[in-house]
Amino acid sequence: MPSRTVVVGSASGLHARPAALFVAAAAAQAVKVTIRTGDKRPVPAHSMLSVLSLGAKYGTEVTLEADGEGAQAALDELATLLAQDLDASEPAAAPKPASEPADAASPGHA
């Protein structure tokens, strides 16, 4: 199953505002996406209570999983969102597809 592992970039962790933005984005996807920390049980990414219950803080590694048509694009979008600091007043512009978190730091990247 396609998956992305990403580090939470919001200063306050995956709480109130960042969690709300993430859950709303997950709910807008055509595919069902799950999220988990470590090797714990995955929970639905479109469930606010479930996402909050992860207790993910700034720097926590989380894994997104999805299956089916459009899963790759959905995972890319959500992973990019999670990596941002969503506590900042405005989140960065719509994420570009197909970027691995490591790519941002590589010198050859445009």
Binding site: S12, G13, H15, A16, R17, A19, A20, V23, A24, V43, P44, H46, S47, M48, L49, S50, L52, S53, L54, G55
Partner: protein, 560 residues
């Protein structure tokens, strides 16, 4: 049995008076709404139709979502809106709905299924600790709301009827009031709490009328019209629309009076401090003062080679007295000498004029000058309705004060006082008050003589700072003597014009402050913002300070 008993038994507290402790002054009127207690889960009920029961539970969650969405839309700051939006998403959670539906299929009724659905996440929140553990209260609030909606009970928590209202509660915790919409809450009334409770502090900071320890407040039905008097602590229940309107008008005019330059000086809790004006001639008269605290008469004498005649003096005093109507005018008799030499009173060369024959001391040489002045004041006073008091400058001993008071009474002036400008007078304030009717502290000269620092000497300005704790000690001694004898002790001079220092002086027990008229509004506003107990606290702290800078630092936020 009287009819009223029947009415009261049938509908308790529908109409009547409730008394509590007023902790934040002001009047308010409007419909009352209670902070409803959380609902109690009834005994589990058997479920005949799981589909219908599920629909009931989902509808209850939808009610909570709608209510919180409305509140989020009305929230004034984005932080509050974010918090409410996050709560909306919790109540609107699809996983929660699934859990609730599963529980109903397993035999739970809607209310118990909702409670169970939230309980799953409650455990997870508690286990996560830290921030999430603190959010358990939010989860409980959502559960209580959904259960209440399910049972058809009022929504728990602070109500939001969508229009201004009087908030009734057992007590209010910071969590209750954090999101309080102060544009909607007219007044706070609690059954518990006290003058220093969170409710009282919050109300005072918001300027909301508030009554605490009001037994029976929660027996008032939602929507019943009430009036609240945050000063007397009285709550009238079941009033009519006319009373509501009248109360609102009274509050509007009360606030008008507070902002009106003519309003009397009051601390936030209503302790009166007369705000008086210092004037030198009728040109300085103002409508903003409650009276004249210092009418300097030497301007009349300046530039004259001869003493002004009785008629000239009568005319000059009368102009001031007439303009003041029935208000108080404290006339200071001629304060010649030192920095105000008068040609017709030219003394022999004095090596130290400030320590020479000045003020009342001039009467040792020229008793006739004081006699003429007192006679003129008395004539002018009899011709007008002003409340005329007379005081002498540079009084040093009770003997001097007694002599002056006797001459005033002989002239037909019943209220005689002494200025306190010499440390000797401050130290013997009690003795002075045995022979005069009031004291007025001239802080400028009292500083000069206490610190042996010439008022004209700029290099010594730090010693002449009115915040010097030694000066405050002398003022404190005078105020204490005033309280002990029940006689007024005022302050005139620069000290009274400093809004922050005015609070300290009030806390020391000074009963009036006299200053230049334009300084009055700021001092009035400072007093109106602080209860007497706070002023007393500032006064104790300023007295305990080692120097003027430290004394000033007692009220950092107020120095404007």
């Amino acid at each position: 049995m009287p009819d009223s008993d029947v009415v009261e038994r049938g509908r308790p507290a529908a109409v009547g008076t409730l008394d509590g402790i007023g902790v934040s002054p002001g009047l308010a009127a409007g419909p009352a709404y209670r902070v409803a207690p959380p609902p109690r889960l009834p005994a589990p009920a058997p479920v005949d139709d799981p589909e219908a029961e599920t629909a009931r539970a989902v509808a209850a969650l939808a009610v909570v979502v709608a209510e919180l969405t409305r509140r989020a839309g009305a929230a004034r700051d984005s932080t509050a809106a974010d918090v409410l939006n996050a709560q909306v998403m919790m109540a609107d959670d699809p996983v929660l709905r699934e859990t609730v539906a599963d529980r109903i299929q397993a035999g739970d009724d809607a209310a118990h299924a909702i409670a169970a659905g939230f309980a799953v996440h409650r455990e997870a929140f508690e286990a996560a600790g830290g921030y999430l553990a603190e959010r358990v209260a939010d989860l409980d609030d959502l559960r209580d709301r959904a259960v209440a909606a399910c049972l058809g009970e009022p929504m728990p928590g602070v109500p939001a009827p969508g229009h201004p209202f009087v908030l009734l509660a057992r007590d209010l915790a910071p969590a209750d009031t954090a999101g309080l919409d102060t544009t909607q809450v007219l007044a706070l009334v609690t059954e518990a709490g006290g003058p220093t409770s969170h409710t009282a502090i919050l109300a005072r900071s918001l300027g909301l009328p508030a009554v605490v320890r009001c037994a029976g407040a929660l027996t008032v039905d939602d929507g019943v019209l009430v009036t609240v008097d945050g000063a007397s602590g009285r709550v009238e229940v079941g009033v009519g629309p006319a009373v509501v309107e009248m109360t609102r008008q009274r509050e509007a005019s009360r606030r008008q009076r507070l902002s009106d330059p003519g309003g009397p000086g009051r601390t936030a809790d209503g302790h009166p401090v007369a705000l008086l004006a210092n004037i030198g001639s009728p040109r300085d008269l103002t409508e903003g003062a409650e009276g004249i605290g210092l009418f300097r008469t030497e301007l009349l004498y300046l530039d004259r080679t001869e003493e002004p005649g009785l008629d000239d003096q009568v005319a000059a005093y009368r102009a001031v007295f007439e303009a003041m109507g029935g208000r108080k005018v404290i006339v200071r008799t001629l304060d010649a000498g030192a920095d105000k030499p008068l040609p017709f009173l030219a003394a022999d060369d004095e090596p130290n004029p400030a320590l020479g024959v000045r003020g009342l001391r001039v009467a040792r040489r020229r008793p006739d000058v004081l006699g003429t002045q007192l006679e003129a004041i008395a004539v002018a006073a009899r011709a007008t309705s002003a409340d005329v008091w007379v005081m002498a400058p540079m009084v040093s001993t009770p003997g001097e004060a007694a002599g002056f008071a006797a001459r005033c009474r002989d002239a037909g002036l019943p209220t005689a006082g002494a200025m306190v400008e010499v440390p000797a007078a401050a130290l013997r304030a009690s003795s002075l008050l045995r022979v005069v009717d009031f004291l007025s502290i001239g802080t400028n000269d009292l500083s000069q003589y206490t610190f042996a620092a010439d008022r004209q000497c700029g290099d010594l300005a730090d010693l002449l700072d009115p915040w010097q704790p030694a000066l405050l000690s002398l003022i404190s001694a005078c105020a204490a003597a005033g309280r002990a004898t029940g006689k007024p002790v005022g302050v005139c001079g620069e000290a009274a014009a400093d809004p922050a220092l005015a609070l300290v002086l009030t806390g020391l027990g000074v009963s009036s402050l006299s200053m230049s008229a334009r300084a009055i509004p700021a001092v009035r506003a400072a007093l109106a913002a602080h209860p007497l107990a706070d002023c007393q606290r500032y006064a104790r702290a300023a007295l305990a300070a080692d120097d003027a800078t430290a004394a000033r630092a007692v009220l950092p936020a107020l120095v404007t």
